[in-house]
Symmetry: C2
Subunit: 486 residues, 2 copies
């Protein structure tokens, strides 16, 4: 494995000080124009050189007829060009001294024999000049911390901690809004396309060293370098979690992958074995992939699998208990000392079993801060799963009853909820045991929105939350095993 | 089974022309006040009689010291009173001639021996006067079509088609916002509480006859009348689907249920057998429960399990194929005639395998209407699963390129998207084969919002969509089996 992050070809791809872009024009419908628009919209601060055969400016930037005319050697070339001219342009980039490229253009190996020949020429040209490149047939790359979005979709989420390498570009670009909804996001995203030069193993090595990346996320249709994948992952996993979704787990999924990227996927049990050997956590849906990343990136690891469920509603508590059991988690009984400490806070209707069902509390903050603090001190428990709901309108009704006008009561409600969110998020994120929320509400609830914005993990529903805690337990065990065998 | 819906005790609960409410006051924090507030807020048009020992008006309505003082015999009594006085109030209601009641008050059997004694007295009193009642220890009931929300949580979703009976009140009230997010909702919701008089079987019978209910949804911690449950469900299932979530599937879930409602749940395989015998579709999470209801309530049933996946992105297509296979669905190859018809619409980059991966289309409406219409005519397929994404900002960029100002382009974008949503929803809902969408976007995307609002089933993610199609296939088979054995 490389020693310095700068040694990685992805460093050059993700951190350019200057970019030559081929295929952007003033025609808005062109894919290349879309990419340049995204770069400009996100506020990239490096120098940009559009290369275009006829335009003199492109989206307000001076354009150059040939890369050879540029006033400097840019760090990165992005190509969104007709397939047949890509190898020639790569040749010119080589002559100019460019060392890194992203080839977005498709029409290569994935289309058959002629495309494969062209792809070989592209590879050979790059090799001749020592150029490392992402693609072809990819959707680009994003480094949110550099405000660099070299894809055709707008990325509006703030810098995040999930570093992703994906064999489907869609799971980079089409996740921007999805992740943003939960207040999480990519640190870096790499669409690897046909992996003609840089592959998913290279991406893992880079993301392992990337200081902005807390957890590595992989979408896999096929692993091309099996041995290297395992060796690399085993070195990374003890330090940084890797989570993967494998699309070829079924015959139908395999066939779809083949048709999509020409990937020759293997049987499910083969991949299952590869992941286990590598210390890679396997997710079974895209949602789960990001759920796992979310929790692994925000929580300390649990010492074991014993979870306390805290709720104020019996049904959601029962469902959460059921979900925990299905995810291999145990619900320990509370110790006598915890029960004693709790009794101060709980009404008679409450249950001190696990789930701890408060039914209601005299003071709201008891529910959100004081009681979980007692539960977190329980020596028999390794994590807390908490049901979250704070119905705005009922609070407004309550505040109105103090004699305030409806308008004033609404304003007070917003303030109250914001303060509850803030304190709860702070406690969750400071906790030394994983403290995960679940809710059937989402960002439309200001309480949940506040938690998302603060970075606290609140998963949609108990099943997803329990699975994510299960993944943390699994990662803890895998890491111990890898460390023991290292 | 009853012959007329009016014979059901739930008819009296759900369709009162007048209500006496006990426990509402001008103190906003009282639960009873919360329920009366909800009733008033939703716009219930019947007559309301608060009964209160000292207030002369309650929330603007004339209050009465005793139910015996009311100017008429109300159809329904709602009691939110201290436990110990509930049986006496029931006695007075009997004397007044009231025939139906909802007892929200808790503190009965679920709290132990003394509570059980009180519950017995309550039952005997009701029996003496022939009163049928919901509860005690329940959260109330809602009939959205009558604008009657007798729970303490505001219900703001429009009338829906899901009829629910729940052993946890939370899965009525705390789902209002959840369902509303997707544009679906309850027709009726009954929180059955301790089931002292009316139980979940009674609710099923009512919902089976209810013309506003297309699908019956059950949250179960324990079935008290097993034989009747099976017999009733078997009679209903051939005509109306029943979907159930069972919380006691694991030891932890069972213990939680016991602590919640005192339910003595059975082993998972026992319940699995009961559901199978009854023709009840089993959901494995609350989200799934409503996903299944959504699709069963909006789609015609599939003839079999053969699904076409339509996508314009390879990754989401591969994930959907994988999800279908895991849900017991097959992805048939397209017949020659379908391929021929498709070829007119598809670019060279497209795949005519299954998933049908369009990559892009010249005309957007081809993707949303013309192409699915061709796929729906495929004799080898029983259903269509379609990936949905229409990125607003890329469309705005495109429209701007025609020379419009940004503001005008945004307005055009909204119009364009609304029209696409409308046409697609119309086609989906008119289809004779199930046509289910999936998306990683949600209501924050105006395209998806438009589909939700029109009532089209668009599920969050391919796994949930595939599971829901699987549930429709299962229901079709169960129904055939029940009809054959009838």
């Amino acid at each position: 494995m490389m020693r310095k992050i700068e040694d990685s070809p992805l460093y050059g791809i993700a951190n350019p000080k200057s970019i030559a872009i081929f295929g952007a024009s003033n025609r808005y419908t062109a894919m290349g124009t879309g990419i340049l628009t995204s770069i400009l919209q996100m506020g990239y601060e490096g120098r940009i050189y559009p290369v275009h055969p006829s335009e003199t400016t492109v989206l307000g930037h001076t354009a150059y007829q040939s890369v050879l005319d540029l006033p400097e050697t840019p760090d990165l070339a992005i190509m969104v060009l007709p397939t047949r001219i890509v190898p020639d342009v790569m040749e010119e980039c080589g002559k100019k001294g460019i060392k890194y490229a992203i080839v977005v253009s498709g029409g290569f190996k994935e289309t058959g024999r002629d495309g494969a020949v062209l792809e070989d020429r592209l590879k050979q040209t790059a090799d001749k000049y020592g150029i490392r490149f992402l693609g072809p047939n990819c959707i680009g790359a994003v480094n949110t911390h550099l405000k660099l979005n070299a894809t055709f979709m707008p990325c509006e989420h703030p810098p995040g901690f999930i570093g992703m390498a994906s064999q489907s570009g869609s799971f980079i670009t089409q996740m921007f809004a999805y992740l943003g909804r939960y207040g999480i996001g990519f640190s870096n995203g790499f669409s690897v396309g046909n992996e003609a030069n840089i592959d998913i193993v290279d991406c893992m090595e880079y993301l392992a060293q990337c200081p902005n990346t807390k957890v590595i996320s992989l979408y896999i249709e096929s692993i091309r370098r099996g041995r290297e994948f395992i060796d690399t992952a085993r070195k990374i996993a003890p330090h940084k979690p890797i989570v993967a979704y494998y699309a070829g787990g079924t015959e139908a999924g395999r066939r779809a992958g083949l048709s999509h990227t020409g990937a020759l996927a293997g049987e499910d049990r083969v991949y299952e074995g590869v992941f286990r050997q590598s210390g890679v956590i396997r997710a079974h849906s895209i949602e789960e992939l990001f759920d796992f990343c979310w929790c692994l990136g925000t929580c300390d690891l649990p010492a074991g699998n014993r979870v306390i469920v805290q709720t104020h509603s019996g049904g959601p508590g029962a469902v959460a208990a059921d979900a925990c059991a299905r995810s291999g988690l145990e619900l320990p009984a509370l110790s006598e000392s915890t029960r004693q400490k709790l009794s101060e806070y709980l009404p008679q209707t409450a249950s001190m079993n696990n789930p701890v069902d408060l039914t209601f509390t005299k003071n709201n903050m008891d529910f959100f801060v004081e009681i979980p603090r007692i539960l977190m001190a329980e020596p028999n428990a390794d994590a807390l799963l908490m049901y979250l709901m704070l119905p705005r309108r009922n609070i407004t009704r309550f505040i109105e009853s103090t004699g305030l006008s409806t308008e004033a009561a609404r304003a007070e409600t917003e303030k109250f909820i914001a303060e509850q969110s803030r304190q709860l998020a702070e406690a969750m994120l400071a906790s030394e045991k994983p403290w995960v929320g679940f809710s059937y509400y989402s960002g439309e609830s200001p309480f949940i929105r506040g938690l998302y914005d603060a970075g606290a993990p609140v998963l949609p529903g108990p099943n997803r939350a329990a699975r994510a805690i299960g993944a943390m337990v699994e990662y803890k065990r895998l890491r111990e095993k890898l460390n023991a065998s290292a």
